[in-house]
């Protein structure tokens, strides 16, 4: 058997793939958090709940309406995005004039409510969601077997991150978003309906979380805690990458997923804490995060 640093190669590659998959979810979730934070100046603690909601909407569409995975990948983000519009307009928008802490408390409360309702309705054991027919099976790459669905998740997440980055950095809509992040009143004085843009930004972040949720549904069981399990690590990713940095959240998301996976090979006991160790080191060396601009 091929060995790398004295470890069996298939084990290495397997953990690398797992790391990339976790990293894909970290990247998608922290990307949405970064966009929302940049524009609304709130840390969206409901993000994990929106991720979970995406998976549940996909599950519900399949079991109640017979809507397949591919349609769910498109429709669940729209449904959850619409839910985001309601949340922002009804609740979050009332807090912009107050201290950030209120936004944090509100979204944290929303997460508890959404997850609690899901637990009441569906229990916490979780429901299976089948891998779509087209993505079942595995391919032999020579050095390892790659389950097709897992490869798809990494690619789909990377493409979505890239697309989001392109929209923000290279389009006029993105320029308006970046400008509003810097100085929203002036952008509004230039004729832009900033309150509406803020609502749509929150909806966009929610839709990204839901997209990740649908991708996750066939890998993890669809259960009310699936978001809460991720979100703590995702917050660490956001802090390490630099609050509000788009590129930072994507690179850091994938990077930390891989670091976590590799730690499972070399020092399994440390895999649950390695991200937080990295966080402490980064915060000591660069308080604004790897990609953050110091305020």
């Amino acid at each position: 058997m091929m060995m790398i640093f004295g470890y069996p190669a298939p084990l290495m590659f397997g953990q690398l793939l797992l790391g990339l998959i976790n990293g894909a979810f970290y990247a998608l979730l922290s990307l949405g958090l970064a966009v929302i934070f940049g524009m609304l100046n709130i840390v969206n603690f409901a993000h994990g709940a929106l991720f979970m909601l995406g998976a549940f909407v996909a599950w519900g569409m399949l079991y109640y309406l017979g809507i397949n995975y591919w349609w769910a990948l498109l429709l669940a983000p729209i449904v959850v995005g619409a839910f985001g519009v309601v949340l922002e307009k009804l609740l979050i928008s009332r807090l912009y004039k107050l201290d950030h802490v209120y936004g944090l408390l509100l979204t944290f409360g929303l997460a508890l409510i959404i997850e609690g309702l899901a637990r009441n309705e569906f229990g916490s054991s979780g429901m299976p969601y089948a891998i779509p027919r087209q993505l079942q099976g595995a391919v032999n790459l020579g050095f390892m077997f790659l389950p097709i669905y897992r490869g798809w998740v990494v690619v789909a997440a990377a493409v979505m991150c890239l697309a989001t980055w392109l929209v923000i950095e290279k389009t006029s809509l993105g320029a308006t978003l970046r400008a509003a992040t810097e100085n929203a009143p002036l952008v509004q004085a230039f004729g832009v309906n900033v309150p509406r843009m803020i609502t749509l930004t929150y909806a966009g972040g929610a839709a990204l979380a839901a997209f990740a949720g649908v991708l996750a549904a066939p890998i993890y069981s669809v259960n009310p805690n699936m978001g809460a399990n991720f979100i703590i690590v995702v917050f660490a990713v956001v802090v390490i990458g630099g609050m509000g940095s788009i590129l930072g959240s994507v690179v850091t998301g994938f990077g930390l997923g891989v670091i976590e996976g590799m730690t499972k090979v070399f020092y399994p006991q440390g895999s649950a804490t390695v991200i937080f160790v990295v966080m402490v080191i980064v915060l000591l060396a660069r308080p604004a995060g790897l990609f953050g601009k110091s305020a």
């Binding site: 970046r178 400008a179 509004q188 004085a189 230039f190």
Partner: protein
């Protein structure tokens, strides 16, 4: 074109404007002169809807705008070049230039803007805040000329700039006046103001206390020195 009556404005608890009255007619260049802290910037921001609490009347082309949101005031045809310039660091020069929404036909096209401000063309892909102070000021003026807004609010566009740049800004203001734009200009430097303006309003402690036509500026120097404390 613009009619301001009894304008009051507050920042939180502090009452800054105490009944400001003035008019601007179509095609005029009118200045607001006054000492530091007289309320000139606050007046400009109030016209644009950027001061949270304001009362009184602001009628623009017959429409009451006192209670409108800034984006709707912009769409009515008013555009601002703020005192701090407001160039966006995360946008390059072209993105800064294209940011303000077009609100009406009749704005300058890019070719004309680049003729007026050749530097901006050369530096099109530079980060906005990497420009020199003078270039940033050009950019801040240029971007509102595109929008088709007919009333331009320029808040101290010459502040802290070298004399050749001040002259270029003076030429620009005369050029846009010739093209039929209306300009409300805040200035500390009344020598500069005299070269571009039709009339001058003097502000003191949140009120307009005097109006001097440009033709009478020379004969009003003593009065003006007293108002401005220079």
């Amino acid at each position: 074109m613009l009619e301001v009556r009894g304008l009051n404005a507050w920042y939180g608890e502090s009452h800054i404007l105490h009944g400001v009255d003035f008019d601007v007619r179509e095609g005029e260049v009118v200045t607001l002169l006054g000492r530091n802290g007289a309320g000139k910037t606050t007046t400009m921001k109030s016209l644009m809807g950027l001061v949270p609490r304001r009362e009184g009347h602001i009628r623009f082309q017959g429409q009451e705008t006192i209670g409108l949101r800034p984006d709707l005031i912009a769409r009515a045809g008013i555009a601002i070049c703020p005192e701090e310039r407001g160039i966006f660091a995360s946008l390059n020069v072209t993105e800064n230039l294209m940011l303000p929404r077009q609100v009406a036909p009749g704005g300058l096209d890019l070719a004309t803007i680049y003729t007026l401000f050749p530097n901006l063309k050369e530096r099109a892909s530079s980060q906005g805040t990497k420009l020199s102070g003078g270039e940033q000021q050009m950019l801040a003026i240029a971007r509102i000329l595109r929008t088709g807004a007919r009333l331009l609010l320029l808040d101290e566009p010459t502040e802290g700039l070298a004399p050749v740049i001040v002259q270029q800004i003076g030429r620009t203001i005369r050029e846009i006046k010739a093209r039929g734009f209306t300009v409300l200009l805040v200035e500390q430097n009344f020598h500069f103001a005299a070269t571009v303006a039709d009339r001058h309003y003097v502000m003191e402690h949140g009120r307009v206390v005097d109006m001097i036509p440009n033709a009478e500026l020379a004969s009003s120097m003593d009065k003006l020195h007293e108002y401005l404390g220079v």
